[in-house]
């Protein structure tokens, strides 16, 4: 059992049904890996007892010949910002110290209903704010491919755990690239579904009009499977869409891919990223697809627009952490105001405080129109321009990140440099479109790079099909 090699979820499910492995032995194996093999600080906690209980229930089902779910045997890690009843969740923040979920996130419940086994919760940037996983109150996550490097963020633990075989698949959340960038840095497939596709009920909010849950996997096929189980209308999230999840993909043999001239000419683009990306475009042309270049005039406005709007939403969403209703209260609380001030000041980390302050500024009287409304207008321009491009092309294609994973500490003192990490990923969150990253090759020293496809809203089916074609 020790040397069990995971290939894909459908194979694991077949092995279970044929009796060559049991859910209990698989769960024990992964519990051991997560406990002993986690040199990367990926897991904050393993859910030992509930994982084994779920495994036993699944083994009993199989033994008694009952039908089993689509995710039978899937050993899943979840980002530490998703609620799972009776288990701790902290958003990697001190302010939620001791907090235990009183209900289960819809996305997690749908996985459990299909017989997935939830192995534990995974480290991330505090409140999902960051692009390097260096902002966790529980220490940074290391990249399993090279431990001197960051795994990307904010879902860095989710990426590291799958890359290091500590779980089979994991969930992350993506507000500006927090699934796709770490997936690219760790050589994985990562998906940000269309806004509204997967219920946010039970996801700790960062920026509510941007956040989406999505999977980290080793194959496009697994990503689609996990996505399909989670996707679809949920009465508990009014912004979740009623559109059918199981639409058939476009049967077109040849697709049109658009890339941006501005990306090709971007000075921040690593030479190897550019080289691999050009090779990818050539391969698409050679396979008969159409590749067109287009101009996207808002490339430099994407990240500023994202920061105005997400910090505004975050400052409002994080108002609920008051040292009264949940989590941690400062010992120095003497009255109501000092309870609020001290609990928040002691509980939040520096990056979260920076964003709350900027968000408060852009929403404050006198600056609201100049910053917040302006941001919403620019978001409209970005969405319109995106829709126009996706009328003439099936997909927008770009590198997922400008360069491979960087050294820990390299960008820690420069928030703006870190913000620019998201330059190719934020557009999908600003416009709401679905996007996927898949591995595109490595640098000479073996660091993975990803290519991103970005498709029409609510047409994930075609996005997955194209991702498996290329």
């Amino acid at each position: 059992m020790e040397d069990y090699t995971f290939t894909d979820l459908s194979k694991t499910r077949e092995e279970l049904l044929s009796g060559s492995v049991s859910a209990t032995s698989l769960t024990n194996l992964y519990l051991k890996r997560a406990a002993e093999g986690d040199r990367f600080n990926a897991f904050l906690e393993v859910f030992h007892d509930s994982a084994l209980t779920a495994a036993k229930r699944l083994d009993d089902k199989i033994a008694s010949g009952q039908p089993v779910g689509k995710l039978a045997g899937a050993i899943v890690g979840i980002k530490d910002n998703m609620c799972y009843q009776g288990h701790k969740v902290s958003a990697a923040s001190k302010i939620l110290e001791g907090f235990e979920s009183v209900f289960t996130a819809t996305a997690i419940q749908r996985l459990i209903d299909e017989d997935a086994i939830i192995l534990g919760r995974l480290n991330c940037d505090e409140f999902a704010m960051g692009s390097s996983n260096e902002n966790s109150a529980f220490g940074p996550v290391k990249n399993p491919i090279n431990e001197d490097l960051v795994p990307g963020g904010s879902s860095g633990g989710s990426a590291a755990a799958v890359a290091a075989d500590l779980c089979m698949v994991s969930l992350g959340s993506d507000t500006g690239g927090s699934i796709r960038q770490p997936a690219a840095f760790c050589g994985l497939v990562g998906v940000k579904p269309t806004y509204g596709r997967i219920s946010r009920c039970g996801l700790i909010a960062f920026a509510s009009s941007f956040d989406q849950i999505g999977p980290f996997t080793k194959s496009v096929h697994d990503a689609e499977l996990v996505y399909q189980v989670m996707a679809g209308r949920d009465a508990m999230d009014a912004t979740s869409s009623s559109k059918s999840v199981h639409e058939s993909p476009s049967t077109k043999e040849k697709f049109t891919f658009a890339y941006y001239d501005e990306v090709m000419n971007s000075p921040g683009l690593h030479p190897r990223t550019k080289e691999l990306f050009i090779q990818k475009l050539d391969a698409l042309r050679a396979a008969g697809h159409e590749v067109i270049s287009t101009s996207f005039p808002y490339l430099d406005h994407l990240v500023p627009c994202y920061y105005v709007l997400t910090t505004a939403e975050a400052s409002s969403n994080l108002g609920r952490y008051d040292g009264v209703h949940y989590g941690r209260r400062s010992e120095a609380s003497e009255d109501i105001p000092t309870t609020y001030f001290n609990s928040r000041t002691e509980g939040f980390g520096a990056e979260v405080k920076r964003r709350i302050m900027l968000g408060t500024f852009v929403l404050s009287s006198g600056y609201y129109d100049a910053y917040y409304s302006k941001g919403q207008k620019v978001r409209r321009l970005i969405k319109n321009a995106t829709d126009e491009i996706l009328k003439k092309a099936d997909f927008i294609i770009s590198p997922t990140t400008p360069h491979p994973a960087f050294k820990m500490g390299e960008k820690a003192n420069d928030p703006i440099a870190l913000y620019l990490e998201d330059i190719f990923t934020v557009q999908a969150n600003l416009s709401g479109n679905p996007a996927i990253t898949i591995p595109m090759g490595t640098t000479d020293d073996g660091l993975p790079l990803g290519v991103q496809l970005f498709g029409r809203s609510f047409d994930e089916a075609t996005l997955f099909r194209a991702a498996s074609l290329i």
Partner: protein
């Protein structure tokens, strides 16, 4: 727009956050940098553009107003840092 002490005072009060000493210098510097960064948006002409407020194109659907499975008082209170069986507790509000 320059970030001065008065700005920091106002924002930290609204945010219920305290910035003292070195942290105060840091947040002043960082906020200044961030504002310069987001000022880039002003290079775009947005006259006559409707702000994009809601990302959902479907009409939001309300649930029926029915009594459902709710949290029990003990579940709702259990994560509070200080509570009794019925209420969250806070430090004294009024002095004698």
């Amino acid at each position: 727009m320059e970030v001065n002490d008065k700005t920091i005072d106002k924002l930290s009060d609204l945010s219920r956050l305290i910035f003292d000493g070195e942290e105060r210098d840091n947040i002043k510097r960082d906020l200044d940098k961030m504002l310069v960064f987001v000022d880039k948006l002003n290079s775009l002409d947005t006259d006559g553009v409707d702000p994009l407020v809601y990302m959902t194109e479907e009409t939001l659907q309300l649930r029926k107003d029915e009594v459902g499975k709710e949290l029990s008082p003990s579940e709702a209170l259990k994560n509070g840092p200080s509570h009794d069986s019925d209420y969250f507790k806070v430090p004294k509000v009024l002095d004698k």
